[in-house]
């Protein structure tokens, strides 16, 4: 058994303690916006926020997360696509296949929370998620757009 706070809802899940958080989110909780890409924390498709920090959920056991830690998934980012990062992604038509974009958006939102005005080099260094379609330039532009929007 594990007790988790996901998108501000407390969830009790019946699961082995070594189950990766990703699969608990996808299978026991049923939130499939968080994606499986590699299982070894390489690609970032599984990125969620744990207490605001971008975390690759495929490689951490559910037992390492406590009820007090707030997990936010892509579904919990905003109820209606109004987060400035989502709006920027929409404005610039960033996704191609879209499979990695949940993770990209979660990584970008965590980056902007920690550093609201990142330099281009900081964006390049921090955004390490893989996009096989190659949307990197639009991702970078969307982060810059969101940063400008959020700075008002």
């Amino acid at each position: 058994m594990a007790r988790l706070s996901i998108n501000d809802i407390i969830r009790d899940v019946d699961v082995e303690p070594d189950t990766p958080l990703l699969w608990v989110i996808r299978e026991q909780v049923g939130l499939t916006g968080t994606k499986y890409g590699c299982g070894i924390a390489q690609c970032g498709a599984c990125t969620v926020h744990i207490d605001g920090v971008a975390t690759r959920s495929c490689a951490i056991p559910v037992s390492s997360v406590t009820e007090q830690q707030k997990i936010i998934t892509i579904e919990g980012l905003s109820p209606d696509l109004t987060h400035p990062v989502q709006k920027a992604w929409l404005e610039l038509d960033v996704p191609q296949c879209g499979y990695c974009q949940s993770g990209q958006i979660m990584a970008a939102t965590a980056l902007l929370s920690a550093n609201p005005r990142p330099t281009e080099q900081q964006i390049r260094d921090e955004m390490t998620n893989i996009c096989r379609c190659g949307t990197y330039n639009r991702i970078k532009a969307a982060i810059e757009l969101a940063s400008n929007t959020m700075a008002g």
Binding site: T32, L90, Q96, Y136, N137, R138
Partner: protein, 726 residues
Amino acid sequence: MNTITVSRRGFLASGAAAAAGLTLGFHVPFAGDASAQSVTPEVNAWVVIKPDDTVVVRVARVEMGQGTLTGLAQLVAEELECDWDKVTWEYPTPGENVRRGRVWQNFGTAGSQGIRQSNEYVRKGGAAARMMLIQAAANEWKVPVGECTVAKGVITHAGTSRSTSYGKVAAAASLLTPPAADSITLKDPKTWTIAGRPLKRLDTAEKLNGRQVYSIDMKLPGMLNAALKVCPVFGGKIKSFDVTQIEKMPGFRKAVRLGDTGVAVIADTWWRAKTALDALPIEWDEGPNGKVQQADILAAQQEGLTAREAILGSKNGDVPAALASARRTVEAVYAVPHQHHVTMEPMNATALWTAEKCEVWTATQNAEAALATAAEVSGLPIDKNEVYRLHLGGGFGRRSSSHDFVRYAVLIAKEMPGTPIKTIWSREEDMTHGWYHPATQCRLVAGFDEQDNLSALHMRISGQSILATLNPDRLQNGRDGATFQGLNPQGPESQLGYTVPNLLIEHAMRNPHVPAGFWRGVNNNQNAIYLECFLDELAHSAKQDPLEFRRKLMANHPKHRAVLDAVAEKVGWGTPAPAGVYRGIAQQMGFGSYVAACAEVSVSDAGILKIHRIVAATDCGHAVNPQQIAAQVEGSFVYGLTAALYGEITVANGRVEQENFDTYQMLRMDEMFDVETIIMPSGGFWGGVGEPTIFVAAPAVLNAIFAATGIRVRQVPLSKTSLKKA
């Protein structure tokens, strides 16, 4: 044991609403479902218009990121003259296509063909629907149809000051006889107002909040999950497995043999299935392929480079004579390794089998082929099978090369009739059981005449044929014509852009046991590396500018030359680059389009490559959505350069050595460069855009590296070559 409430016949994945319906398991009617006909009339196979004026465009090709869904909808909407803001879309199923005599024609989405090979009939579908809708209004008003006009889905009769909307007359229109095909006149693309514009994609919003249901996200009531392992050696078999070791593990339901090649474990969740599978003792019979090493594959290729026998690709003049009389010759050997597709979404499919019906939910580039595979494995007649399409987390040719993911899912589902089972391949299973970009080498020999003009060129390709793996029946007298992509003397598909007085192109087919498949860009990729890098070598050997050297060979190829000239002009070829920055250029034609690129790179003393900027040009005949073309061009550089910089699948003891992203590197944002895209549609033909730019990505960068360092990289990936200053 389980009751499935999702519609059997009617499911369509169409945007977030349907996707939400799917995951909740309730009925989502096909917009043109007979039972719903009175509510949402189908004007024709391509167009459904709801009473609220929503226009549902049927899309037969599949969306995998390349934007074909939006582009095809634009083409239909253009001829339909509807309000773009009211356009949505849906996928027909392949089973429906069979029942309706293939009214939607080809579902296959590969070879950059989505738009270029269906534009005419989808535009006619939109135009026919428009004619029927206007006719319905004219009939209602009892006025001549010629007096009615339409704009943005509103039909007007000026003489009587009446107007109505498509939604109001759609039901009546659906009862009319469709116009004869030869009575339909399509618009001149110069007059387009919806097509040709950089409109936003129709499928973006649900990719930003987790609501887009990819195949791997499929849920059905009572669904179980399966993980599989196939013999790690291609061609090997499963000998035995010991289920007693895992049957008490959490969630375990069943272990099943997959023919003679593998085993799957079924459990309540996928993670439990995978955990049990990992604990399952398995004995493999690796067979003779278990002894194959990478060196064996390379040795066979090298032997083919000079073997007596080879398959003719094309020839003109007399190369042996011209080389014999040449004032000087230049020779080089290039090599490219196997590559894996690495779709971000690993292979998967959900299947539900009963004695009466087999249903599959999956991400496929060719739903008709998926249906055929389902029917073959299910043992049921074709009309007792159905495939429901979900969005693809990448395709790149993997999901068209083989439907092994459907085959295994149905095999597994047959073991538990009535229970839907989702089979997901782990990343490791996916990477080690691919259909790989073929590995080949090429020996090139050029001869120069007394005036130091290129007089002869001999290209001997040695290595793998894709068709020999996938479609041996399509070989013609043992010849795989696809091997010569981009090097063909003529034709609208992939024509060589140079005229050489004496030319000989051959293929010594050497097929290893590693299965080959169609990998985005296909054989154009390595052929462009071979030819465009070698031409660069020849230009330098003749002490000529690489651009001018090419231009002299391109007098008969104005479209090839136009894209090359366009990038040269924009990049400022011939003017100094920024300090420390060097340029390389390349061009190629394939999948109907002409592309060129110029890369600007620098290489540090320590040998670190930095790609600063790439200028690219595309002539795809007609540009349906310029901003999506630009997206494809950018993405193509990432795809092509990931392979050129890092991509290499190797074999040891018959199995693939790379299993995941830690040993199969991808280009990431820290290495990303600026891309400037010139879209220069010259009209009169339709070319693809999802792949062509990949061809020129590697040669443009490799040629720039030579300009920067004097090091000629002839083996891909670049990571095998040190660029450090000697």
